[in-house]
Symmetry: C3
Subunit: 143 residues, 3 copies
């Protein structure tokens, strides 16, 4: 018999963009699922946020901001004095693009009742257009 | 007992690049699978196309075209009067790159017999080198 | 009853960046799993490497190097004579970024006891900060 457990997490960040470590919450849901061997799907339910795996919260935040700045700088290059097509005050296209670059979902193996992550892997919620409640789906399944 | 249902969808777009909303077809396959609780894998079977989740077809198309234009513009910057390495008339490298940026596969949860998407999430086939028949695999599994 | 098989592959590349075709190893694990219908999760266990699906090893390597060169060139544009924020001698931020662009995990369907890949799809390990042992998790599951 396949065991499953589904939960929905809600995030409401104060900043427009934020990276939140949600590993402890995923570990807890997997523990409650009773799954010994299987996998856990974690996905953003909005198209302007991501679920991603990276290793260090501060480093990741810095990477993300530098990457975004880089994209915006490139967008504006050759458009001296003009607004780039990706500027967030224009619309939230930058958030949609980051959703695709950083990804919608991750699937993490569950082995011997635990989330089978590498030694530095942590699960993050990536918010790219926040300041409002947004949801993440978590579904553990297996035997 | 695990239920599974596997179908292959074929797309033959008139344009080289196109974004096609395939949500209704996925909903139909999940309904036919009889899966109550589980997940549905949807993946491109070609390395120059993607399956992705985004929220609005027209907005997504515009995003994609602007993003591609941006990548090409950056590629040519500093190469005044020369062809950029990513130009599609050179080869289809741009299509391969977009495959990686937009992703090969998505896994969507199935809960209470329905595709468990967020309110604005829609499933799209992203064609980056079309005008020929290409396939997408859909496999629903669960109890 | 759900069948599962979990293996860990270790890679130690001589170059800092490398793309390794691991399809034969995944095919072998799926065969040993005895799974007839289900899926196989393949994921990097490090946040500076990827598992990805592409079609041609040499072309993929060339794509990757050109893409990286492009990112670095853009990073330095407007910074005449200065070091870009992405330079690898500064830190391994380029490897983290590539991990996000190329993705952490892929899920490949298993149908009729075989890996259900498209005709040109091959599974690759993408190493972006190697010259040390790093692991990939492979878990086949299904009936």
């Amino acid at each position: 018999m396949l065991r499953t457990r589904t939960e929905y997490l809600t995030f409401h960040t104060k900043e427009r963009m934020a990276i939140v470590n949600i590993t402890a919450q995923i570990v807890d849901i997997v523990r409650k699922s009773g799954v010994r061997d299987g996998a856990c799907l974690i996905n953003a339910m909005h198209t302007t946020s991501s679920v991603l795996v990276s290793d260090d919260e501060n480093g990741l935040r810095a990477d993300l901001l530098k990457f975004l700045e880089l994209i915006h700088a490139q967008d504006r290059s050759g458009r001296a004095g003009r607004t780039g097509v990706l500027d967030p005050h224009h619309d939230n296209m930058d958030a949609h693009l980051l959703h695709h670059v950083f990804g919608r979902d991750v699937l993490v193996a569950v082995t011997d009742y635990r989330l089978d992550l590498g030694p530095w892997e942590q699960v993050y919620y990536g918010e790219f257009d926040g300041m409002r409640p947004k949801r993440v789906l978590v579904k553990a399944f297996g035997v």
